[in-house]
Amino acid sequence: MLNRSITVLSGLLFGAGLVVSGMADPAKVLGFLTLDANWDPSLAVVMAGGLAVTIPGFAWLRRRQRPLLANTFAQPSSATVDWRLLTGAMLFGLGWGLSGYCPGPALVSAGLGQSAALLLVPAMLAGAWLSASLRR
């Protein structure tokens, strides 16, 4: 029960953070990604705010053998830089720059009934499914 409450709480904080920061609004994200006279540094400031918490927090956790309420820390599936990682990051960057949506903001906006995100999210899930299918 505690684990579940923490999971929901983490989601709540994350979703609220996306709206509070302005990152759930694709226009705001495009304002950062579009390099022109109206350049908006907000997204960099959001990253800085996030990292201001996670960098010291994760550094503290590195000295621990296990999380507070579970047995192991999740390990990334791969440790090497390969073509999958870089091609994936490029394709993601392309879609992100064209629309201003990355997965978190897209899901929140779709969940709140925004029509642009309701169009984008099914395509995103189809893309992920397709990519996973081709890898098998």
Partner: protein, 144 residues
């Protein structure tokens, strides 16, 4: 013109996102990567689907609560033209394929991966930031 005031909410929102990621990792050892959580909720190992749905439920509810508390979430303005709908669908496909193939997005690589000091995540972030800027600055205007 950018003012310090205009950056207060982005910073505060960033702190909330960081807190969310730290809480999930510190308590349960799980990475708050939204793309991984979303795809895992649908197609991951069955025993690991439940917590992912709970997180996603919280994610949307958290956004809703923030709007209820008076935070702005403007309706994304997209022209109703077939071209702009096609753009959204293509962008969605690219985001889906890219984050699946590249094992993460802005949250997993950006907020968590960088804090884990992962070289993979650093390269992924630099790549999607650079390509995102190229696409938004030069490609997007060509479409409309």
């Amino acid at each position: 013109m950018v003012s310090i005031q205009s950056l207060q909410l982005p910073f505060a929102g960033g702190l909330l996102i960081g807190l969310a990621a730290l809480l999930l990792y510190a308590a349960l050892g799980r990475i708050a990567g939204i793309s991984g959580i979303a795809y895992g909720a649908l197609w991951g190992e069955r025993a690991q689907r439940g917590w992912r749905w709970l997180f996603l439920l919280g994610l949307v509810a958290g956004g809703w609560l923030a709007v209820r508390a008076g935070m702005a979430l403007p309706v994304a303005e997209w022209p109703a033209s077939p071209g702009s709908k096609l753009l959204l669908v293509c962008a969605g496909l690219l985001v889906g394929v890219g984050t699946q193939l590249g094992s993460g997005c802005t949250s997993g690589h950006g907020i968590c991966g960088l804090a884990r000091l992962s070289r993979r995540s650093l390269l992924a972030v630099l790549t999607f930031m650079a390509v995102g800027m190229l696409a938004a600055t030069w490609l997007r205007p060509l479409w409309s």
